[in-house]
Symmetry: C2
Subunit: 169 residues, 2 copies
Amino acid sequence: MLSDGSRQILSFLLPGDIVSAAPFFDVRPHCLVEAITDVRYRNIKRAEFRTALFTNRDLFERLLKTWTKETLRADQLIVDLGRRTADERIARLILNLAERLSERGMVQSATMEIDFPLRQHHIADATGLTPVHVSKVLTEFRRSGLINISDRALTIVDPVAFRRVAQMR
Amino acid sequence: MLSDGSRQILSFLLPGDIVSAAPFFDVRPHCLVEAITDVRYRNIKRAEFRTALFTNRDLFERLLKTWTKETLRADQLIVDLGRRTADERIARLILNLAERLSERGMVQSATMEIDFPLRQHHIADATGLTPVHVSKVLTEFRRSGLINISDRALTIVDPVAFRRVAQMR
DNA sequence: CGCAAGGTTGAAGCGCATCAATGTAAGTGG
DNA sequence: CCACTTACATTGATGCGCTTCAACCTTGCG
């Protein structure tokens, strides 16, 4: 959150994600977490986990791998916010979510449909845009037959063209 | 680098910095490194370092602390690119550099002057702006007596006002 | 000298923000 | 059941911040 009331969303957490690897090593929380859907979560004791990390090499490797992915995605987001257009940012956000859901088997493979509980203002806050502009872009995406959103579900109608818009091959 | 030739700078490395913590745990390099100044560097053998990390708890803690800071700065950059104006981005970039240099004792404390080898196109690529606009903003900063740049050195003339522009208290 | 890289400046244009009106659907209390 | 509210989405008009383009200037360098 910024002092002027605007906010920037850093990431969307999906089932199985940890909020962030950083808090294991730094006491100060540096961001807020908010639930969009119903959520099941568990707390981890920092001290215990750190000891476990040091004793259990496999755990250690897996945490660091997760953190590496986190870092990679953050860097990608920096590039997106710094150098991409509104269309690209929104399309990439959607495709990234779809990809991560796909890894979890959460895509109807027949229809390329995913749960999509995000409101447009979430998309806006994640892409550095305004809700109004997000609405216009999404409407345009729909009009050109790229995607469809209705009833908290999103379908990628034309994956090839949509990936082209997102500059993702 | 993007396909259209534009690029996004993720961070500036100062003396003593590691390029990134991520490569220790992931083989694929995910970004490029370029030197602006003359540089002294050393290579670290991934495998060796990983073993050392697991045997030497202090090293382990220190790497993770470094990585935590990296993560924090990346997240801050995301906020800056997503939600801040050109003036704010540029001022924050400069103040962040000054702060990091200060930790290294690399600020002339009398004059608040730092080495500043960056070209305007570096600032542009780090802030998601164009060199032309960077020039205009810097000229305006100078004109209002906030900073001064000449001869590869930058002086923060009015720290209080400048921090206000950067929205940093 | 001639050239390349960087910086400055102004004019014009575009992408997104802002503002405002309208619509819609779900929830709430009378 | 209906008035009312609240949250969200859509749409159009207008404006602004930054980009783009282009000309010109400076500096360093082979």
